[in-house]
Symmetry: C2
Subunit: 93 residues, 2 copies
């Protein structure tokens, strides 16, 4: 499902126009991105947490030539599913 | 930031009531969960994709006693950040 599909489903459930639901979803994403950009993590209860995680530089040994090398610091975006989400979807397939 | 915080930010930007924005976020999550439950992946352009992934059973060797063993099939929830999200947040820290 994409934004269009979600917007249609939401519009049906609460009797609003599809474009209104679509615009809201877009705004929701924009606000979330803005705040992630300011270093805030996004906590959606019953769903999960999205964080921009800093990974420090790391000293490792190059497995090929056995020389020590440094992996530079980096940022990654990480999603941690909530307990509710895990209970609902994870587990024995 | 949590749902309350997001709702306040959204309400400010488009002049709606906080509880309206809050209810919309809740509905958005509910609809997304419903559709994930039906096996549909959630694709939010400019943000990312959430999928419930099936992992098949796997035959491995127990590293302690060297006996062959089977890891049962399982489901996991996985978030794949969009290129936009990666460009914005990932990279050199």
């Amino acid at each position: 499902m994409n934004k269009k599909y979600l917007a249609e489903d939401i519009a049906k459930r609460i009797s609003i126009k599809k474009y209104e639901a679509y615009n809201f979803i877009d705004l929701f994403i924009e606000v979330a991105l803005d705040n992630l950009g300011k270093g805030r993590k996004l906590v959606l209860s019953k769903f999960g947490t999205l964080i921009v995680k800093k990974k420090n530089k790391k000293r490792v040994i190059n497995p090929i030539n056995r020389e020590p090398m440094i992996i530079p610091p980096a940022k990654i975006v990480k999603f941690i599913p909530s307990e509710n989400l895990k209970r609902r979807f994870e587990g024995n397939g």
